[in-house]
């Protein structure tokens, strides 16, 4: 890099780097410090060593929420990517209305998570039970009042919101697949499935890296829909980690303890997502 180029490089990246430091890096280290204190959000914080962490190990509720979040994330990631890829394959076919469908599939993503949660809460409780009345099925009337329905309700809403988004990512990768390769495979007599599996699929592998990472981190960090849809209920069985941390911090006024939970949570998510990126990166091929 020439000298001048370097200057421009730093000049342009400075705002980002400064912002990143102020809103992410510095608070992050502050957070680690606070996780060793008994800070309640107002009075002076006193250092308490590792006692927050040792308490954490015995906190049944926290580990339940970690387990619930993990279950949720795996189901959601699988379904969102399957549906998203399916939709992408559908709308990259040339037929009338394909563009319109793209817009429609993407639209749920434009609605904020909180509002989405409240709308779906209405659907699950009122619309489902109205259908339940007609069909005389009790299963449809108890939505959101049992742990299982709460879980699946959140999965449904998450899929509904995120599938359109990952669809757009997959579309961009699918469109960049070289037509010459597809033509060649046609000449070799490949079936539609073979074309997908052996030609398109390996080429859109980078798309998986991006989409899996996005859905993974979004599913783990989910808070807004959790809040508006179930608010952790019934009896905290659908409480995700973010909500558990928020409640510890702001309802029980234990900022230090909540922060130690956040640190552990960060480590879990970092390990899982880095592993995922590493694994999927290895599978990427250059066309």
């Amino acid at each position: 890099m020439t000298h001048q180029k370097k200057t421009w490089f730093y000049l342009f990246s400075a705002p980002v780097i400064i912002a990143l430091f102020i809103v992410v890096v510095i608070p992050f280290f502050y957070g680690i410090y606070y996780s060793f204190t008994d800070w309640n959000g107002v009075s002076e914080a006193a250092l308490v060593g590792f006692s927050n962490y040792s308490k954490l190990l015995k906190d049944q509720e926290f580990w339940t929420s970690i387990w619930f979040t993990t279950k949720f994330a795996f189901v959601a990631i699988f379904l969102i990517n399957a549906i998203g890829l399916g939709l992408a394959l559908l709308v990259t076919n040339k037929f009338k209305g394909a563009n319109l469908l793209r817009t429609i599939f993407f639209m749920p993503n434009l609605i904020g998570g909180l509002i989405l949660g409240f709308i779906w809460q209405f659907i699950f409780i009122n619309a489902f039970s109205a259908i339940g009345d007609v069909l005389n099925s009790t299963g449809l009337k108890t939505w959101l009042s049992t742990p299982e329905t709460g879980f699946w309700a959140m999965v449904i809403v998450m899929c509904w919101q995120m599938s359109g988004y990952v669809m757009v990512i997959y579309i961009s990768y699918l469109q960049s697949v070289d037509d010459a390769l597809l033509e060649a495979s046609d000449l070799d007599g490949a079936s539609a499935f073979q074309k997908f599996w052996h030609v398109k699929f390996p080429l859109i592998m980078p798309g998986f890296t991006v989409s899996l990472f996005m859905t993974l981190s979004n599913s783990f960090k989910l808070y807004d829909q959790n809040l508006s849809l179930t608010n952790g209920g019934p009896y905290k069985s659908t409480q995700m980690v973010a909500m558990n941390i928020y409640n510890t911090a702001f309802l029980e006024n234990k900022m230090g303890y909540a922060q130690s939970k956040a640190v552990i949570f960060f480590l879990c998510v970092a390990i899982i997502s880095l592993t995922q990126v590493y694994l999927t990166k290895r599978k990427e091929v250059e066309a």
Binding site: A19, G41, L144, T146, Y235, K236
Partner: protein, 443 residues
């Protein structure tokens, strides 16, 4: 190739995002500077200089009326400027207040909830014993905000809750509501209503909104823990343990509520309970307080005029009573200049002790006043009237839930009640978990 392009696009988006955040941050910072400059300008406290009072308050319901009052006060006192900011919702207010303090943008007047808040904010609260309002406060309304003999908060108003019932439906079913004093009476009434629910057009007699943890955990629980702590919020606050001395009756109350409720109770929230079910006459009674009147009136004005409050009693102990208490206190921040502290006190005195202030509190805010010297005939809505009647007749118990360990009422008791309602836990387990958590928090 493509990968690279995507990365570029990605970093572009990130850049845009971060720029936005920085801009937003800048906006905030400059705002803070402005108000800081305004505040320091008044440090001299010289007459004629404008004193700015920043009020950060919690009650969304009376935001407009409160702002109108502030305008009026500004007009009458030319050297005072009042800035009001309102953030509603229990936990959100607390979180917002904390961030205000830690960002250095401290309000002059803010709200505190009870002993737990007082302990937390004690270094940031002024002694208000010398205000006129503190002298005029009704007996017992200052207890929750008094520490070491200092009055650190002035009550907003008093509120009460019980079983809100629909008088028309009770009449139609032939039930005399005035005779309902005990749990047994309440159960009998529910049974009668249940047997006639087709004719009365009811979905069920009762709506138990178990999804709202504050309704069950804070309010229902309070009604049955009151007697254990002698109705004294400070006793609850200082207690190392909770016994559930009247746990059996508590269970009975939840059982009655649940048995005669619209199901599934665990998915009933506040809006369904009040707006959809009660306001439309789909249930005849539900546990709530006088604060729901405006909501009911907005859905069904006619029905709203014909409702009342039934007791939540412990048989043989607190028959015929409802719990009445102070929901929120005004605290004054001592970290401001002398002039600001004085102006804040004057403003609160004006609000609660002058004739004009009293009129506004009663007629515009529609409060049940927590102070002496009000023309209580003017309390307009039926629920507040009932609360006041219970109060003057001495048929009230306290609000000890303000002295629960932080988060215990909702996150522990409320959640355990959901488990019980769903049949996932026995009542003994509910009590056991709640007792253990209380003891743990108070170690």
């Amino acid at each position: 190739m493509l990968n690279k392009r995507m990365k570029k696009i990605g970093s572009g988006i990130l850049l845009a995002g971060f720029t936005l955040t920085t801009l937003a941050a800048c906006g905030n910072a400059s705002e803070t500077n402005n108000s800081a400059a305004g505040a320091s300008g008044t440090d001299e406290g010289a007459s004629g200089e404008v004193v700015e009072i920043d009020i950060f308050q919690f009650k969304v319901e009376f935001k407009d009326q409160f702002e109108a009052l502030a305008k009026q006060y500004e007009a009458e006192n030319e050297n005072v400027k009042i800035n009001i900011e309102t953030v509603g919702g229990g936990s959100d207010y607390g979180a917002a207040l904390k961030s205000k303090f830690s960002s250095g943008n401290e309000p002059d007047i803010y709200n505190i909830g009870g002993p737990e808040d007082v302990t937390m904010w004690v270094d940031n609260l002024t002694d208000l014993s010398d205000t006129e309002a503190a002298n005029q406060a009704l007996e017992g309304t200052l207890t929750g905000a008094t520490k070491d003999g200092k009055v650190l908060g002035l009550p907003y108003n008093i509120e009460g809750y019980g079983v809100v019932y629909n008088k028309a439906i009770f009449e139609e079913a032939g039930i005399d509501a005035t005779t309902i004093k005990t749990l047994t009476d309440l159960e009998a009434a529910a049974e009668t209503l249940d047997s006639k629910k087709e004719e009365l057009g009811l979905d069920a007699p009762f709506a138990l909104a178990a999804k709202e943890l504050w309704i069950t955990g804070l309010h229902s629980g309070n009604a049955f823990l009151n007697a254990e702590f002698d109705n004294d919020v400070m006793k609850a606050f200082d207690s190392k343990t909770v016994e559930f001395k009247y746990g059996e009756q508590f269970q009975k109350y939840i059982d009655i509520s649940n048995k005669y409720s619209v199901q599934p109770a665990n998915s009933l929230d506040y809006s369904q309970q009040i707006e959809q079910l009660f306001s439309n006459g789909k249930v005849a009674m539900t546990q709530q307080g006088n604060w729901v009147y405006p909501t009911i009136a907005s859905v069904n004005p006619e029905l709203a005029e014909n409702i009342g409050l039934l007791p939540i009693p412990i048989d043989g102990v607190t028959e015929g009573t409802i719990p009445v208490g102070v929901p929120m206190y005004w605290g004054v921040n001592p970290n401001g200049s002398e002039a600001e502290v004085q102006a804040s006190k004057d403003f609160l005195d004006y609000l609660y002790t002058t004739e004009e202030g009293k009129r506004i509190v009663l007629e515009d805010f529609k409060f049940v006043p927590a102070y002496k010297g009000y023309d209580t005939e003017k309390i307009s809505d039926p629920l507040s009237k009932d609360v006041y009647t219970y109060y003057t007749e001495g048929n009230t118990t306290g609000w000890v839930f303000m002295g629960y360990p932080a988060g215990w009422g909702e996150q522990t008791l409320g959640a355990e009640i959901q488990k019980y309602v769903a049949g996932e836990a026995t009542w003994a387990e509910v009590e056991e978990v709640a007792k253990a958590k209380w003891a743990e928090e108070r170690e």
